[in-house]
Amino acid sequence: MTTLLEIRNLTIGFPQDGHANTVVHGLDLTIHKGEAVALVGESGSGKSVTARSVIGLAGAAARISADRFYIDGEDVRNFKEANWRRLRGRKIGFVLQDALVSLDPLRRISQQLSDALGTRGFFVRPNLHEESVALLESVGIPDPGRRLPQYPHQLSGGLRQRALIATAIARQPSLLIADEPTTALDATVQKQILDLLAERRKAGHTLLLISHDLAVVSRLADRVLVMNNGRIVEEGPTEQILTRPQHPYTQQLLDAVPSASSKGFRLSPAAVTNSPDTQARVGTIERIRIPLPTKTIDQHNRVLSAHNLVKRYGGSGGAYAVNDVTFDLASGEALGIVGESGSGKTTVAKIVLGLVEPEQGTVLIDGKQWSNIPEAERRPRRASMQLIAQDALSSFDPRYTVEKIVGESLDSIGVFGAARRERVLEVLDAVRLSEAFLKRHPRELSGGQRQRVAIARAFAPRPRLLVADEPVSALDVSVQAQVLDLLAELQAASGTSLLFISHDLGVVHHLTDRVLVMKDGRIVEAGGVHNVFSAPRHSYTRSLLDAVPTLT
């Protein structure tokens, strides 16, 4: 087997003010022709910068050193920008995470492809159109002739990601690097992209896959390298990593994936640690799951009832965003709403929160009318209902400190002064943030910390109902595990009802008691989460379930 990429003792640092700031420590990576290798780790583990160093895009500030660094037999350690340019696209294709950002919004798909295909000598390629069509066909885009003159925003998320992959493979590179190629996508679209990559792998193409999710890479990779804090902690065939992990960190990553079997148990180790002591526990791993506290559900106490909700885009006459949606939520219960983007689940959340009025139907909170009443009547009751938004950062006023952010939710119940401070400290403690965080600004927090602040804020006024709109979809699997554990613990301890909206079926299965499956504004299936997910009756639910990547 020929070696395509050979790296020995790679070290990458971003020196600043005399500090080396090393982010990758002595990494070895070898990829043979025809192999699919996955580099797995959480954000900040150094996996992306490693991948970028392979195409010479680690950045001008990066200091890279290696004992050996060969790409297809060429020593690239002293490469200049011109040398790298010769390599990019031709030998190595690179697919970035976010296709919406990575494609130029002002250039048509045909133009992006012709950029990627390049010129032949001085001239434009004579059969550019045919080549572009063939390229789009090869990534499974139906009706390519219609797509070519379109702009990226006219394509759906899945098609956009395919188009991006098409630009990366335009010049038939020997190695394709995909950096979190499916992270921002719905499960069904994610599956299509993974299938596409799997097809390429079967056709003998070489692939380096970067991801934070072991479940995503499990079907695709021959070999997995687990990375933590800039080091490879474990390496081996995929099957061995998944079934017989040797390193506690790998085990931690595996446990963090929410699924049916994790229900009722914690996903993260009991203590929130970022760097488990590595040497001591190697080889002595037992899979011990720590159970979550049990919750009390009072079926007779309906906190939320929604009857026949209807909402159309752009008023009457528009397409249905929500069409005849009816459901109840009991005290202490967790209800999940799943569906792809555009299925109307966020609109349901906004109607429940009283931010959007339904055209027809009613929402009752604690048995009393909540929808279509004046805001002045709603205001005093708002404290009983809190929102955890998907993007915690944008839900914080950037000028505010954590103390003010969390404290503001106490305005409505009139808690000020010393009592407010005490409650803020109490809820911050509940989400395991120390007093030192009080004075921090949102930008100074990591993704997981931000989401924990958002949870603390939501629980602060002791709400009866919590609406969580995709609260973990922007997070790494390991951080997601911590956040889900916190949410489950606090929900059980406080008896708060939870309306949990997500496109991730694993997360919903893990966290909720009942589930609604939404498609095109309608509820197509509803019931206990075990029943619905183990014996789905609607074909749409089945297709959603098939798309979920599992650890097998």
């Binding site: 931010l355 009751r381 950037p398």
Partner: protein, 290 residues
């Protein structure tokens, strides 16, 4: 926050620090120093010159720069240096006041427009379109032709002419922030609308106004000088820079110094303000993006 430290061997050291600072960041330090001089001339001109800028002495007319008259004397024998120093007061006063009017009225209209939407927004926006469809200077000239020349009228005219610039930016900002995640979140807390606007919308919507005002001030001073040159501003014998240029025009061949110094004063003041304003804007944008 570090409080400026006072060390035992104070002054010499501090001067050296100041000089080092000028050497290190001349693009910030030089305009700052010049504007400091302008500020002194505005607040306390006696500190810089003991000569009266108004008193004429025909015997001393059109003397070139010398030790007695640093910038020379004009056609009526008035000391040009003294007049340039006292003239700062007019330019700065007109610039600051006109920008103050423009930014306060503009920010207010922008906020109302951005928050209300609908018919009120439409009305305000079209009104602003009408104003900005005239070139600033032309509009100011038209206004002055109604109100008559004079310092106050000049301030008013220039202020009105640059209202749209402020209103547009504030309106756009308000729109964006009213749709932001944290405003939606604050709604779910049950905050009163007024509280919500004051807490979460106002500070962000107005954040750019000081920067805009600084940059706008440079433009306004030039326009003020231009209108004064045409005789629309402070009336003679007031030592306004633009008016001085107008008077000097007839003597440019025989006594260059009468016109050159006020011209230089205008140029340097405007360049200094713009340079600092641009710096500030860059720092501001950098902070937003990081």
């Amino acid at each position: 926050m570090s409080v400026s430290s006072t060390t035992p061997h104070g002054h010499a050291n501090r001067w050296r620090h100041t000089l080092a600072a000028v050497g290190a960041k001349p693009r910030i330090a030089l305009p700052s120093l010049f504007l400091l001089l302008v500020a002194i001339a505005t607040i306390w001109p006696q500190l810089l010159t003991a000569v009266d800028p108004i008193v004429a002495d025909p015997l001393q007319a059109q003397l070139p720069p010398s030790v007695d008259h640093w910038f020379g004397t004009d056609h009526l024998g008035r000391d040009v240096f003294s007049r340039v120093v006292y003239g700062a007061r007019y330019s700065i006063l007109i610039g600051v006041s006109a920008v103050a009017i423009a930014s306060i009225v503009g920010a207010f209209l922008g906020l109302i427009s951005g928050l209300s939407r609908g018919i009120i927004d439409e009305a305000i926006s079209r009104f602003l379109d009408v104003i900005s469809s005239f070139p600033d200077l032309l509009l100011a000239l038209v206004l002055i032709s109604f109100t008559g020349p004079g310092t106050v009228n000049l301030i008013f005219a220039l202020g009105v002419a640059s209202v749209p610039r402020f209103a547009r930016v504030v309106r756009a900002q308000t729109f964006v922030i009213a749709k932001s995640g944290y405003v939606e979140q604050a709604k779910t807390f049950g905050l009163m609308r007024n509280v919500l606007v004051i807490r979460h919308i106002l500070p962000h919507a107005l954040a750019q106004v000081p920067v805009l005002a600084t940059i706008g001030m440079g433009t306004t001073i030039i326009q003020a000088a231009g209108l004064s040159f045409l005789g629309m501003g402070p009336q003679p014998p007031a030592p306004e820079w633009g008016a001085m240029l107008a008077e000097a025009r007839n003597y440019l061949r025989v006594a260059w110094w009468i016109g050159v110094w006020p011209g230089l004063a205008i140029t340097l003041t405007v360049i200094s303000i713009s340079a600092l304003g641009k710096r500030w804007q860059l720092a501001f944008e950098g902070r937003r993006q990081s």
